[in-house]
């Protein structure tokens, strides 16, 4: 499937019956009526949808700088006396009413767990994909199909089994048992392998085999071929998989909420949702500030990598 959404292509517009594609520079000379008919509605649609897309974000921004932390006082989009108090309170870890909020700790936990999970996922999946792509062995086809089948069972559905498993594990290896971030990390790593390994294997298949064959003639081992040749060549697709794994992990609420016990260990998703639960009335301002601080790094990363994403998306990955 063609994926170059960036690349300007020829006349692919399905709605324009007769007019041949025009050079962009001539728009100014187009009659107003014709402009309205052919391009104006597109802008109108874009603006309406743009407002729909941005309104909640703007509203959160307004609530975050509103001096009143109560949601009922968030009247109008532009608060009269904007203040950064909500941000300060969160960063200091204590609200004005004395409630302790380990916000930075949550953010750090999220970044730590998701970052490690993303790196681990990419590395493990690449390891798994290499033999499937480069070697021929008994059980290869079965192995590939098993990967796909296992992937069909969403990790969410295993929540009860995972929980009970971690309970039992606590008795044997408390360091990775219930309530530990390490345990959560292992669960994430286990859940992310199937489809991603499959995608990476597909990309490895497109790399010419001649490369590793000539390397092997020169005496390279499999490990050298994997680390020196295949991994550098696959860097773009690995970045996309890593980003998708990162986003899927940072978004996870369900598993983190089951496995984490201690407030100090919460990820941002668990921490913020518990923080705001049934307290929209009183904690809206600090929550909005937290949402901005937690969301911005992810949005920035996403925007930076989005052009790579389109190809990843059309290859079948779904954002979680």
């Amino acid at each position: 499937m063609a994926t170059a959404a960036e690349a300007p292509t020829g006349s692919t517009d399905g709605l324009r019956p007769s007019a041949p594609p025009r050079p962009n520079g001539r728009r100014q000379r187009m009659e107003t009526r014709r402009w309205l008919r052919e391009l104006g509605w597109r802008h109108l649609l874009g603006i309406v949808v743009g407002v729909f897309a941005l309104y909640p974000v703007v509203w959160v921004l307004s609530a975050a700088v509103n001096p009143e932390s109560s949601i009922s006082s968030a009247q109008g989009l532009i608060p009269a006396n904007p203040t950064l108090n909500n941000f300060r309170e969160l960063l200091a870890g204590q609200l004005s009413d004395g409630t302790r909020v380990p916000f930075l700790r949550w953010l750090w936990n999220s970044m730590l767990v998701s970052g490690t999970a993303a790196l681990g996922t990419v590395f493990l999946c690449a390891l798994a994909a290499y033999p499937f792509s480069r070697m021929r062995f008994k059980g290869r086809r079965t192995g590939l199909l098993t990967l796909l089948l296992v992937q069909m069972f969403p990790q969410l559905l295993a929540m009860i089994a995972l929980y009970l498993l971690m309970v039992s594990l606590s008795g044997i290896f408390p360091a990775v048992g219930l309530g530990t971030r390490t345990g959560l990390l292992f669960v994430y790593l286990g859940g992310a392998l199937g489809l991603n390994a499959w995608l990476i294997k597909g990309f490895f298949d497109t790399l010419p085999k001649d490369l590793d064959e000539s390397a092997r003639v020169d005496g390279a081992t499999h490990a050298q071929i994997f680390f020196r040749i295949i991994l550098p060549l696959a860097a773009p697709v690995l970045a996309v998989i890593g980003l998708l794994a990162f986003i899927a992990t940072i978004n996870d609420f369900l598993i983190a909420s089951i496995l984490l016990r201690d407030e100090q260990d919460f990820t941002l998703a668990v921490g913020l949702s518990r923080f705001i639960q049934d307290q929209y009335g009183q904690r809206w301002g600090p929550f909005a500030a937290g949402a901005l601080m937690g969301g911005l790094p992810v949005v920035a990363l996403f925007m930076y990598l989005q052009r790579y994403l389109v190809s990843g998306l059309t290859a079948g990955a779904v954002k979680g």
């Binding site: 709605l15 069909m152 969403p154």
Partner: protein, 655 residues
């Protein structure tokens, strides 16, 4: 609390951590069986029934000082003649009265009713009387009405509550319910008032009366003390506040060994004439624990697991006295130490006192039965619970394989089947409509902006991608605030007062709207990608043959597009089928389905329903039933995926 903890910690050289934890009950029941529970929990007395039945709390010994506590407080913490908590505070609800609006305290409830309605009609207040009635009318606040008419929850016989006598359908309770309905229809009670609104109305002087408790006084700037509203507190006339007590719930959370241990520990009773000792914890270097006991006459004994022997002049042998810190480290061993004596066993009740305790229920290893020593009744294991011949059971129970019963329950039990079926249907509708709406908007945008003359395409695309880039858990929480009925931006923007998240139908619309916001960028991106992949020559040819724009789109572009995006649409359907975040973080499945026996709400999809069954159930988590449902979900998702394989031809690529 932190002060006490710090002081205790400093005095005894230990670290005491005080934590505020949400959902204490559910969390405790998850954490305790795995040995991760806290040492001390502070909670309301109405948790005691559930927690003790599930075996996650142990009885406490008030050290013979029961008299120093209010009877009602000790009573509240007593289950089966065992006291499970040390009362620290008693709170009740009362009538708050705005003294500007109503200077004199009303003497009867009818007077409250009359005054509230009059002020409301005169327009002096928005709502005469405010009482938290949303999202669920809590029995806690309605208890005064219930008892005023002679209704009750459980009957009270002799030593405690009689759980076989349920009074919710007694004539008095029915009368009370009819009266409340009458008050709602005449406008005295507004069923849309939430706890938040109650606080706002009375705090701002927009209500004459409020029924609430002491927590309303100080509340982060919104408390009645803080807003400066002039008020007085009186008992609710002529009703008496009376706390609800429930002892509902049967748990099978533990393993059988844990359950037996709990049964024996919970059945240990201290006879009224039991001997009490002052105790000093002892241990050998090897960690064997013992107690130095001093009885009422001042005689000293050494108590070990072998028995009691006189210890004149504090003769300790190999044992030495433990400091408080050391005792705390060995606390489990010390409390497990039972010094056998003729009547039963001497056991520590605090770290400094010990009493003779007699087990009521005794487990027989050979027979696998539990016997009540007093009555001689024998209980045998039946489906994970010790049960007597006449059907009486001993709690807690334990986990046991019960075959396919859980699957059958989903289809046979009417109270379960009703909500399950509704949740099932909504899951499909939700996933299908989510895909259709997001795809429709994404496609419209992609078509509109797939035009080279649109120079600002990149800018628009950046705008559209924002919802996709924002982590979805934040999206759900933010929209939860925006759709809030009282304060939300949506109601403010359109100047409406719609119950976006609490009406059974509107909540579904809201969820689809939020999911549209969340999902259209993805569809926009993939359809844009697919559109650019359609060869321009095909459209050129269609035009030459005289096709109009719409025809070319319908006959050429759309079919070609569908071929490449269909697998992604199916993937999106499967994803939304289990889209837990949006449902749970936006609505938590609410509003609840009336009469459902399991925690089920109008907006629940199967995955959130499963989560609530497993981790939020009252009276014990239903892991078995929840696991059965997740297996059913798997079967459905597997069917969808198998279907999508035929499109993607993924299997053929396996070469």
């Amino acid at each position: 609390m932190q002060g006490f903890a710090d002081e205790f910690g400093a005095n005894n050289d230990v670290r005491v951590v005080v934590q505020q934890v949400p959902n204490i009950r559910a969390n405790l029941q998850q954490a305790a069986p795995s040995g991760q529970g806290p040492d001390i929990v502070i909670g309301a007395h109405d948790w005691v029934g559930e927690l003790s039945v599930n075996g996650v709390i142990a009885p406490v010994d008030l050290g013979g000082r029961e008299e120093e506590f209010l009877d009602v407080a000790v009573d509240g913490f007593t289950v089966n003649n065992q006291v499970f908590g040390l009362p620290v505070a008693v709170e009740a609800i009362a009538l708050f009265r705005n003294t500007d609006l109503v200077p004199e305290a009303p003497a009867t409830w009818e007077e409250v009713e009359e005054t509230a309605l009059r002020l409301q009609e005169e327009g002096a207040v928005d709502q005469g009387l405010v009482i938290a009635a949303e999202p669920e009318a809590l029995p806690y606040f309605n208890q005064p009405f219930l008892t005023a008419y002679g209704g009750y929850v459980f009957g009270h016989s002799g030593g405690g509550y009689d759980t076989s006598d349920v009074g919710l359908d007694s004539p008095g309770a029915l009368e009370a319910a009819a009266a409340v309905r009458e008050w709602v229809s005449e406008g005295l009670i507004n069923p849309n008032i939430t706890g938040d609104l109650m606080q706002e109305f009375f705090g701002r002087g927009q209500a004459a009366f409020a029924i609430s408790g002491p927590w309303s006084l100080i509340q982060g700037g919104r408390g009645f003390e803080e807003t400066g509203v002039p008020f007085d507190v009186t008992p609710i006339p002529p009703l008496t506040a009376y706390l609800a007590f429930t002892n509902y719930g049967t748990g099978n959370l533990l393993t059988k060994d844990q359950a037996i241990e709990q049964i024996e520990v919970q059945s240990l009773v201290t006879p009224p004439d039991a001997a009490r000792y002052e105790a000093v914890p002892l241990a050998t270097e090897g960690g064997d624990v013992a107690l130095l006991l001093t009885d009422a006459e001042g005689s000293q004994f050494l108590g070990t697991e072998d028995g009691l022997e006189p210890a004149p002049d504090g003769e300790l042998g190999d044992y030495r006295e433990l400091s408080v810190r050391e005792s705390l480290e060995l606390t489990e061993e010390l409390h497990d130490l039972r010094v056998p004596v003729e009547e039963g066993a001497i056991q520590l009740s605090t770290l400094r006192t010990a009493t003779t305790r007699v087990p009521l229920l005794v487990y027989d290893d050979g027979e696998d039965t539990v016997t009540n020593e007093q009555t001689g009744v024998v209980y045998r294991p039946v489906e994970g619970t010790f049960t007597s011949e006449d059907g009486a059971i001993v709690t807690p129970g334990w986990r046991e394989v019960i075959g396919v019963d859980n699957f059958l329950r989903a289809f046979t039990s009417p109270a379960v089947r009703g909500p399950f079926f509704r949740v099932f249907v909504w899951t499909y509708v939700f996933a299908l409509l989510s895909v259709l709406t997001t795809f429709a908007l994404g496609l419209a945008l992609a078509v509109a902006f797939n035009d080279d003359r649109m120079r600002s395409r990149r800018f628009y695309r950046l705008l559209f991608v924002v919802p996709y880039a924002l982590p979805s858990f934040l999206t759900a929480l933010i929209w939860g605030g925006m759709l809030n009925q009282e304060f939300g931006a949506v109601n403010q923007l359109f100047n409406t007062n719609l119950p976006w998240l609490t009406d059974p139908w509107l909540v579904r619309f809201s969820i689809l709207l939020v999911n549209l916001w969340l999902g259209f960028p993805y569809m926009f991106l993939i359809t844009t990608g697919a559109l650019t992949g359609i060869p321009g020559g095909l459209l050129e040819a269609a035009r030459v043959d005289g096709a109009t724009g719409l025809q070319a789109f319908r006959r050429v572009t759309f079919p070609l597009l569908l071929i490449s995006v269909a697998p992604l649409l199916i993937g999106s359907f499967a994803f939304n089928f289990n889209n837990f975040n949006i449902i749970y973080l936006l609505t938590r499945g609410n509003p609840p389905i009336e009469g459902a026996q399991t925690p089920a709400g109008h907006s629940d999809i199967l995955i959130s329903y499963t989560y609530r069954l497993a981790f939020e159930g009252q009276g014990g988590a239903d892991y078995g039933f929840a696991a059965a449902i997740s297996v059913l979900i798997f079967v459905m998702v597997a069917a969808i995926s198998a279907y999508s394989f035929r499109y993607t031809r993924a299997l053929e690529e396996v070469t």
